[in-house]
Subunit: 269 residues, 2 copies
């Protein structure tokens, strides 16, 4: 999927919503626990109820790895279900991987070739040769952590390095890597005021913006400071949507929450 | 396993060798491919041949995830085999994870509770709340990336932040986190000269040192600058040991390479 196809989908659906599939067995409706694969049953119901409102889905790998082999099966089924039924939807493996060159290549193979995700999130700490193996896949997308939505982002990311904040240095440096112009970046909605400066460095790049909803970020501010002529935003909501209800109506409740966000997004498009 | 038990094992075996189980199907002896689980068959043979020479094993998760469910099965079998047969051996999940708090907690559960690893490698970019969930396990160990062995380490890790290099800032800051005194750190052997400064900040901490062998780091320099009164070093070798031969004799060849390293290590103990 190209970024222009992604923008097309955003215009078509009047939505730049990404639904985070952070599925915790302790939080899903308890009647699903008797299903053979509760996590996939939950994801399928959420996808069926929200796919017309979202342009992207983002399973966070931690929630799947926490269940070992069962978790990987649920992840495989989820990505296959998305690719088979909704090939126009952008898929993100939220894995935050990064290792020395040949090893990052193995992660790239796992997410791009075997699981057939459109994109994967990658951590920048190990530098160029830990990210370029992901960028070598021209039809895939690498989403680099720049400024994350959590409190710990202030520990290092906003510290000054070479005269400016580390996250800016990460963005500037990464642009120079092989195929660096194809990078997308994670920028937390809880730090929307930073988007103004970020857009000066990368006016054209897509940004994946977590932190709206449960974490307290404002959609209006994200759009004000972050939107570009191709929209350039994927705003993620996880818990606020998928855990909208603990009852039998969880999928309808998720759709209602997703629609609220989509309706608000439509006003900014 | 406590760090004093680890030091005890090091003194007993006269070795601080960690064997990296970075198992690539394209590099293992081809006769193993007819086994039901070639990766586990390879690991078992390597472990059987080298367990008296090594104090730690470190599977790198990328090589297992690249094979999806089959890979996770091989990983599970490997860690179970180690824990059942060699409970005195320290195990490291080389995963380089890190995410917002509740999500890092899921990764901690995956590696510490389900897979029963003694330790896991964690990336520092997202700061305090991305690492503390791992540190909450008092009988387990969190190994933070500080200065890695790859070329990309010079992109950000050695850049100056708050008047000193980022990797030093990472080490200093992380010491203040909850249970931060229990952290271990990754410091690449390819940058052994940096160990002198690092030991001034963390004289007592264990260091996991990759990059000896295939990546060109010197064991002598690592010991000269990095060893402390409790040894405080785990030196990892992966390819140089596990791919010592492509033939039927691969396990014996691996043992011979491991013994060379162990013998050299013994001279520094």
């Amino acid at each position: 999927m190209t970024t222009s196809q992604l923008t097309e989908q955003i215009r078509l659906k009047k939505s730049f919503l990404c639904v985070g599939l952070d599925v915790d067995l302790e939080k899903i409706p308890q009647h699903l626990l008797k299903e053979e694969d509760p996590v996939f049953a939950f994801n399928k119901a959420i996808i069926d109820a929200t796919h017309h409102l979202a342009v992207a889905y983002k399973p966070n790998l931690a929630f799947y790895e926490a269940h070992g082999i069962k978790g990987w099966k649920a992840l495989e089924k989820t990505i296959n279900y998305l690719n088979e039924n909704h090939p126009d939807i952008f898929t993100i493996a939220d894995a935050k991987r990064g290792d020395i060159g040949n090893t990052s290549g193995m992660y790239a193979k796992a997410f791009f070739e075997d699981l057939q995700f459109d994109s994967v999130t990658v951590a920048p700490y190990m530098g160029k040769d830990s990210v370029e193996p992901f960028l070598a896949y021209e039809d895939k997308h690498t989403i680099l952590l720049a400024l994350t939505s959590n409190a710990g982002a202030y520990d290092f990311q906003t510290q000054t390095i070479n005269g400016e904040e580390l996250y800016k240095e990460v963005i500037k440096t990464s642009k120079k890597w092989n195929n660096g112009q194809n990078l997308m970046y994670v920028v937390g909605a809880t730090k929307a005021e930073f988007l103004k400066d970020i857009r000066k460095i990368i006016p054209e790049s897509f940004l994946l913006v977590p932190g709206v909803g449960a974490q307290g970020g404002s959609l209006e501010e994200v759009c004000k400071f972050g939107m570009n002529r191709n929209v350039g935003l994927l705003v993620n909501a996880s818990r606020a949507i998928i855990y909208a209800s603990e009852g039998m109506d969880f999928a309808e409740a998720a759709a209602a929450e997703a629609e609220k966000l989509q309706q608000e997004m439509a006003t900014f498009l």
